[in-house]
């Protein structure tokens, strides 16, 4: 087939139909409070790492929960670089929903970075 120089762009939209649920299910098993988040951003506001880097724990959480794993691994966007978290646990202290946010990061690292 002749090459006309066109290519197909990958759509930007989050595709929940074809997303892989396996890691998400595993996360729910390890950190059940994972699903209680209401996105208030208290964790991100108080995050020690977030004061000095562009790390955003709320965004890592939502990317994972929308099954956008490649954003957290191959793309490794600076905002959601899991290595930036120092595991200080302040986020867990302020969370109004009692999400084990620190555990969440530990599990995300295990599931995605190992």
């Amino acid at each position: 087939m002749a090459n006309f120089g066109f290519k197909i762009s990958t759509p930007r939209s989050i595709d929940l139909d074809n997303a892989d649920r396996t890691l998400y299910e595993q996360m729910l098993e390890m950190v059940p409070s994972y699903r209680y988040c209401i996105g208030c951003g208290g964790c991100t506001a108080t995050c020690s790492a977030g004061q000095f880097t562009d790390f955003n724990i709320r965004k890592t959480h939502f990317l994972f929960s929308r099954r956008q794993y490649d954003k957290l691994t191959t793309d490794m966007l600076p905002e959601v670089d899991l290595n930036k978290c120092m595991l200080c646990g302040k986020c867990s202290l302020v969370c109004p929903r009692g999400v084990n946010t620190r555990g969440l990061i530990v599990e995300m690292r295990k599931l995605l970075l190992n």
Binding site: G41, G42, A45, Q51, V94, P96, G98
Partner: protein, 350 residues
């Protein structure tokens, strides 16, 4: 006639008393404070129409002007026990349960003991009671009422920040529920602040803005459109004092996905509603204490003013957070239930 006691002379208790009296039922209204309607008279204006709280309270108090309503202020009810717990059935001439209110006997009791504001000191990270610039929404209401909104130095503030959901929707406070009226109260107070101080910057931090009632959404729009109130979606996680007596806050602007900090002259904590001490204690004595210390009703749909205990009815914010309008309506519903279900024919004569 059956003897009816209403515990709590708030909006629900007063409305119930007025309706019962209009139906020729004598009632005794117990109030622990020196005056009825304390939770209304400490307000300036009421949402959604900015009605003068004092006028509304006066109109409600006028309903008590009926010779068959006995109002007993400064009378705290410490004991409320049904006959089947205390076993003084023998004293009861007909055999139906009677209620012992302090030392008197009543056939029917309406619990209308209301709420108490959340103690903001329990959210230590927000600095109430530590930094002079941090206030509760009740203190803000007082400043609005007196027309003296001032910072910790007694000067006119350049910035005011409101924070929603203090003691509500918060696992750390033990209150999972939404207090329902703080959202619109912050909008009301923000508008009042802008009316009194047009050059003051006003911010409202929220997790969700729940403008559920009639006229609420319009007030929210008015706050943005006419008063330039700023709304930021994010929960303030910490507040600290500055050397000059102001408050520095940290939040995430969740719509931008970036941490945010700002300094303000005043930080107003929108405290939620909890079951009052009287509600907790009396509901426990009668074994109808439900979640979070609020009184449990028989059924949330069909019998919301009745309790599982015979002859014991419940109305107003002792059941759950309620607005003034809801409490008045609820008191009216309770009176109706007492008139019908409570069967007011005489069964017990003292």
């Amino acid at each position: 006639m059956k003897k009816i006691a209403i515990l709590g002379a708030g909006p629900a208790g007063i409305e119930a008393a007025a309706v019962l009296a209009a139906n020729n039922c004598p009632v005794t209204l117990f109030e622990k404070e020196a005056q009825p309607l304390c939770n209304i008279t400490d307000k300036a204006f009421l949402f959604p129409n900015f009605a003068d709280a004092a006028e509304v309270a006066a109109a409600m108090r006028a309903k008590l002007d009926n010779p068959i309503i006995t109002l007993r202020c400064n009378t705290e009810v410490a004991q409320l026990t049904p006959s089947y717990i205390t076993g003084f059935q023998a004293e009861n001439l007909t055999g139906t349960p009677v209620w012992k209110v302090n030392d008197e006997l009543y056939d029917i009791v309406l619990l209308a003991t209301g709420y108490t504001p959340f103690d903001a000191r329990r959210k230590e990270e927000l600095g109430y009671g530590i930094y002079p610039g941090v206030h509760t929404s009740l203190e803000m209401e007082k400043m609005i009422r007196e027309g003296k909104i001032v910072n910790s130095l007694g000067e006119s503030p350049k910035r005011i920040v409101f924070l929603q959901c203090v003691g509500s929707r918060d696992e750390k406070s033990g209150n999972h529920y939404c207090s329902k009226l703080c959202c619109v109260t912050a909008v009301k107070q923000a508008i009042e602040a802008k009316k009194q101080l047009p050059n003051c910057e006003v911010f409202v931090y929220y997790m969700d803005l729940r403008m559920w009632g009639q006229g609420f959404e319009e007030m929210y729009r008015t706050a943005q459109q006419e008063y330039g109130v700023n709304f930021i979606r994010g929960r303030i996680s910490e507040a600290g004092g500055t050397f000059d007596g102001r408050v520095q806050i940290k939040a995430e602007d969740t719509l931008l996905g970036r941490p945010l900090k700002m300094t303000s002259d005043l930080l107003v904590l929108m405290v939620g509603m909890e079951a009052s001490k009287g509600t907790r204690e009396l509901a426990t004595q009668c074994r109808i204490c439900g979640e979070y210390g609020f009184a449990q009703t028989k059924d949330p749909h069909l019998h919301d003013c009745q309790s599982e205990a015979h002859g014991l009815f419940v109305a107003g914010a002792c059941k759950r957070p309620m607005t003034l309008t809801d409490s008045i309506n609820d008191g009216r519903s309770a009176a109706y239930e007492i008139l019908t279900v409570g069967s007011i024919n005489s069964t017990y004569e003292q």
